[in-house]
């Protein structure tokens, strides 16, 4: 049984939002397919009480906090603890340290944090050794993202027989990105918990509001520009059949394909954009002039065209053509 713990809400202590926003964030995380949400004590206190739905993990600094906050499904704790409901967290920075895990075989649940470089090692063997070392322990892997490989490691852990991972939204805690892991598992092994990914733009906007950080335009799954296509050959493919250049349908994550007109556009994309903007299509030689002007304009300005600029440019070319015909 695959389980994803999202620990984003243990990272907001310096920018704690309102109770309502925290509750909304939890609701959206469960909606996209997260199984458990990990909170810091500060985030929990701000929420006042846990929502009725969903399982929650509390990150504690002292084991006595289990009694102070008794309502949680699990408690994550950074020291060895062999009691029920505690996920013991251990840092493993080097694969040579995997052997040390033997000492923790009395743990019922263990979270391994680190292992950021196993892609440059024999990752199959490393994963197999970890699972073999702790046969009676529920192991949760939280790979760190030092080398921009955390999502791949988390997914590979699941594909190689692991069951649980810890990640955060957009990878904001320096670990795997929850949304990348969910989508990769969906595509690789058709893991589809009955959830809804179309709320991702809403979750992204809320994340940006809470943290005051902007998600990169090309960030996988949630970036604003990831379904914008400019290159002629790609735009042509998308027009004929979106599956030619899309790993999944943008509508699955609340997005949509968009043909952008720029230096790399071709005739077909320009014609499509003209129709979109209400122009009736002129003869091909005029479209060629428009395309040439687009390339010139974009190269001079170092950017693609927005719709307004496109309409102005097309109108100018058509007006010039008329002048030449009637002069």
């Amino acid at each position: 049984m695959i389980k994803i713990i999202d620990n984003t809400l243990s990272a907001f202590d310096s920018c704690l939002p309102s109770k309502e926003e925290l509750l909304k964030f939890c609701d959206l995380l469960f909606t996209i397919g997260v199984d458990m949400i990990e909170l810091s004590v500060a985030a929990y206190l701000k929420m006042e009480q846990l929502p009725d739905k969903g399982k929650f993990v509390l990150k504690i600094e002292d084991i006595a906090q289990m009694k102070t906050y008794p309502d949680f499904f699990r408690y994550s704790y950074h020291r060895e603890e062999f009691i029920d409901k505690v996920i013991t967290e251990v840092q493993i920075n080097d694969i040579r340290e995997v052997i040390k895990l033997k000492a923790l075989d009395r743990c019922k649940e263990l979270r391994i944090v680190g292992l950021d470089d196993i892609m440059s090692k024999d990752f199959d063997v490393v994963i197999r050794n970890i699972i073999k070392t702790l046969p009676n322990c529920k192991i949760n892997l939280c790979p760190e993202n030092t080398y921009n490989c955390a999502s791949a490691i988390a997914v590979q852990w699941i594909l190689n027989g692991g069951n649980e991972i810890t990640s955060s939204f957009a990878g904001c805690k320096g670990n795997a990105a929850t949304e990348e892991v969910i989508m990769a598992l969906r595509l690789a092994i058709r893991h589809k918990p009955t959830r809804d990914l179309t709320v991702l733009p809403e979750l992204t906007a809320l994340y940006e509001k809470i943290t005051s950080l902007k998600i990169g335009n090309n960030k996988p799954i949630i970036g604003r520009n990831i379904f914008k296509v400019e290159a002629g050959v790609h735009a042509d493919g998308i027009i004929k059949n979106p599956a030619t250049y899309e790993a999944y349908s943008p509508s699955l994550v609340g997005g949509r394909s968009e043909i952008i007109i720029g230096k790399h556009s071709g005739m077909k994309a320009v014609k499509l954009k003209m129709e979109e903007q209400g122009f009736s299509l002129p003869k091909d030689y005029i479209v060629e002039v428009i395309l040439s002007k687009i390339r010139e304009y974009c190269t001079e300005n170092g950017n693609s065209l927005n719709d307004l600029e496109f309409v102005e440019l097309v109108n100018e070319v058509i007006a010039d053509e008329r002048k030449q015909i009637y002069s």
Partner: protein, 268 residues
Amino acid sequence: MKENKYIVDTTLRDGEQSPGIALSIENKVAIAKMLDEIGVYEIEAGIPSMSEKEAESIREIVKSCKNSKISVWSRMNIEDVKKSITCGMDIIHIGVPVSYVQIYTKLKKNKVWVQRKILECIEVAKSHNIDVTVGLEDASRADIGFLLCLIRELKKAGVNTIRIADTVGVLTPNRTKELIATIKSHTDIQIEIHVHNDLGMAVANSIIGAKAGADLIDCTLFGIGERTGNCNFYDFVHASESIFNFAMNKKQIKRIEELSYSILQGAL
């Protein structure tokens, strides 16, 4: 001993295809010169058939670079190949769609047509003494049997390097390993790996591809490229310098990123 691996930088081709940027001749030449200086093996400089200005920028890059091989990207189209040849570069890279969705839906052709067409294009380029590499587009969703047959035909036609392109970015590390290892064990062709970051796995997949036998790794500055981008040059070297030898170090790549940030920031 660490294995040597070679970087193919495609910032000026795939990277420039990101919405939000359009590079001038001066900008393209400036970036190419910096990549050339740090020992990038191959610089994919652009697409000559796009416009005369683009072809001109590639000719300028050819003139300005001393060490790197300069390559251009071409569609599988004889006219485009002929246009590319006028740029005087070292390598022409011809893209051939290989997945069934690309062949039957986008091209609306069949496998026999694809094979015939690519061999015709290679012949035209070879007749001008230009080195040809072939990009197997959407290889990650293609039938492996077809891929292996096609690679054998390409090798017979004098192609020594093929690019395995994860065009839509769906590979995972284990699938990358399997794909590259299978090609490696069934053919004697040099492999270049070109992955996209749609699932956030471009760096990991490039490392795994290189470990499985790809000698050439496609990267871009800041990881820019179509949609979510390509393999990030800095991150790739940072993540794998403990197991591979590269001509450059992280510090040199970081310096180029600093100097080109203002030019490329529109794609980020």
